[in-house]
Point group: C2
Chain length 463, copies 2
């Protein structure tokens, strides 16, 4: 393809190149007492990429990382695509056999593994997989640092020919069968990251704390979004609420993310207090309760409710705030904010459909399946044509989530398709029951499941 | 091309569709006592697009608008691409013969002309050009409103097959020869608009005042950027400083833009005062003096210095603020901010090259030509192969601007290539001389030109 002046393939690698050019001396990464500037971040990425190439990495070969939220995993998000490989960031809460499945299903030729997670691959056959251990010390004798030291600080030549090539594969576990490898493209990663920058108002003064796992949808694309604006990443090996509160204060954190559970633990911790600097905090992964949303605001933590799945690069919809809601009661505000909302700026379309792909009425009551399409939808499942055809049938991604659609276009989840309880012929949404129960001040979290019932067929049970 | 779930062509038309979905009742446009919500904005655009189709518009036909900053011209930025046409927003300060040239060179099949500018086409042969007059009253008897009334409020089917199709042609006048038609793509318009949203921190609470002409690089892509976040546009037929100060206060304006001249008139007006709500204001089109930049900050107007050309969709570089500059003197801060800086997030690369496309040293002294490439560079000149080949030679767009490059990667313009004064064999930058002169408090603006000189060949003269 002839190089055209007005065409460059979209790639999040360009975000780091730009920030290293414009903010070379700015702190890019903070981690356990060490810091890296953007110049150092870029140089480490170049070293990692060139070393992978020198060790024989070919285009589109899979490179696995099994790590907590460390600088190494962040560096992988730039170095692996810069080298032309495909990043496989493995969920570090999986079992050894699941990790084994992923490494071999993806056909990884490299594995970088943190010392705390090495036990997960101790019994795995790693024949043919070059394995590098990470001590996460940043010191010269750390095998990972030795790996970088053997690389070149200069950038490698890009092999990217088409922005629709695969940048990463994120394995997602259903309730049945083996994990499926969700393929992200360079284009989708770039665009979803920009959508996130815009929705969360990230800028070069932002300080982002890694409470969300980076392996989870590539950290909802915040791995790329934070760098795109030259903001600061604070890594975090594990989620210790007391430590999180200390860091929020000490570093002036402006943004962090997590599932409702993370936020529940934080706001109910003994160290919880009103922050001096306001923080914008995205909640996703499960619907937050109105109770939680109301709690967070008291601590100067401004919740932004996002919704998405691994197949949507993480955040797909956002519950955008409407000015006229300002005058409503706190309860009513929290109820409105607990809805999943609508697509962010670079996402495509998200709708609620009935069984024959017809839109359900926007009445806030009629349930249907949430479906999406657009540039921030995954390319398919790696080496799994059957699952791909099924999930993308009819030109839409079938999320498997059941929701309703309001007259203001906002969607609200009712359940996963499989979690709807059919009791006495009626659909019962476990989420609705759960949201009602957690309004009681003595209850932090709860779950409602279906149990067999002689009279009703199924009945809801509170755990 | 088969419809793929994960691929949608990038188009700024999607920004309006999304904002109309999510913010239907929010004020999208304010103009002389009338307002349109996002629902109304989208409906008017649909009407304009469907009426153009009904009157025979074919794909890629050119549709000219000759208007001040009115709702009609803003609507054209969505309706013409939605209909599949190419927008030609004509500079309303041109002469009748230049307008004539553009209408016929572009081969426009439609012309929408504001009542105040009708005289510019009074003597032009409009055979074959369907001409619609705009009274800009918003009333039912306005010919433009009648045109909309005859259209359908429903969206037309998109004909866009490739995001690299041309969305608009912006004619730019050099000092010699006929104007050249700079072609923008859907992709470039979409990406430059997002870059602008990020740099200027536009969000759904923003209020944007149209002090910058919309015909100028499609309003530096703010026509699309403001809509992308569901912010409010305030139109403005003419730039009256007293009126601008009234609107800034009354509407709580958060953003407006202009060339240095615009800002000089504003900050030196009798009504100038410190704004209650801070405004972020982009300056571009010519290098602002450090004097002006320092003045603006006193009024709670935060200048963002941008640089670009018609061929870069307007803004291409931004003088990004560095935290360590906060401690410098006001003068030093203004001097640093007067530099053109480096590329915004979605722009590609901007460099300073010597005669054989080699980078000049980053010493802040060696002059070279500023050159760019990337997704936000124009596709070429419409029906002008010779000019296109010349300007895009060697894989870079040759800006014709002469600049230097500092060790921190920021560029600074010294002059247009043709404006450098060679006096006694030495290069004299007219900009450097001008910037020095305007530091005197009695001088608002000045220009330095070359005059013939018996001893030195040329010599600088102050006007």
């Amino acid at each position: 393809m002839k190089q055209r002046v007005y065409r460059t393939e979209l790639t999040p690698v360009s975000f780091l190149q730009r920030s290293a050019l414009i903010f070379p001396e700015k702190t890019a990464i903070i981690h356990e007492g060490r810091t890296y500037t953007y110049r150092e971040f870029a140089e480490r990425v170049n070293r990692l990429a060139s070393r992978l190439r020198a060790l024989g990495l070919r285009k589109h070969e899979r490179v696995a990382f099994l790590c907590p939220n460390t600088p190494a995993l962040l560096e992988a998000h730039y170095a692996v695509p810069a080298a032309g490989g495909i990043l496989v960031a493995i969920n570090n809460r999986l079992s050894s056999s699941e990790v084994d499945f992923i490494l071999h299903h993806a056909g990884c030729s490299f594995l970088f593994v943190d010392h705390e997670l090495a036990h997960l691959v101790a019994t795995v056959d790693l024949t043919g997989i070059q394995t590098i251990h990470i001590q996460d010390t940043g010191l010269a004798d750390d095998p990972y640092e030795q790996f970088l030291a053997a690389g070149s600080p200069e950038p490698v030549e890009s092999w990217l020919a088409d922005e629709e090539e695969t940048i990463s594969i994120n394995y997602t576990s259903g309730t049945t069968g083996n994990p499926k490898g969700v393929m992200y493209t360079y284009r989708g990663a770039y665009l979803n990251a920009l959508g996130i920058v815009i929705e969360t108002q990230l800028n070069s003064n932002s300080v982002y704390l890694w409470t969300l796992p980076m392996f989870h949808c590539n950290g909802w694309c915040f791995t790329w979004a934070v760098t795109a604006v030259g903001a600061t990443h604070i890594c975090l090996r594990q989620l210790n609420p007391a430590q999180v509160w200390d860091i929020l204060d000490r570093e002036g954190v402006t943004h962090y993310n997590g599932a409702p559970t993370v936020h529940i633990f934080l706001v109910n911790h003994a160290k919880a207090h009103r922050l001096a600097r306001p923080a914008t905090v995205a909640i996703g992964g499960a619907p937050p309760s109105p109770t939680l949303l109301a709690q967070m605001k008291q601590f100067n933590i401004h919740p932004l409710h996002l919704y998405g799945l691994t197949e949507t690069y993480g955040p797909n919809t956002v519950c955008a705030w409407q000015p006229e809601w300002d005058t409503l009661s706190e309860d009513e505000q929290a109820r409105l904010r607990a809805r999943q909302g609508q697509v962010h700026t670079t996402a495509g379309q998200t709708q609620v459909f009935g069984p024959t792909l017809e839109e359900v009425p926007r009445d806030g009551q009629t349930m249907g399946e949430v479906m999406m399409r657009g540039n921030t939808i995954a390319k398919g499942y790696y080496e799994n044509e059957a699952a791909t055809s099924q999930a993308f049938e009819g030109g839409w991604f079938h999320s498997g989530d059941i929701g309703v659609w309001y007259s203001d276009s906002y969607i609200e989840l009712r359940d996963r398709a499989k979690d709807i309880i059919i009791s006495g012929g009626e659909n019962i949404s476990t989420i609705e029951v759960e949201q009602t129960i957690v309004q009681h001040p003595a209850i932090l979290e709860c779950a409602v499941i279906a149990i067999p019932d002689g009279m009703w067929g199924s009945a809801p049970k509170l755990l």
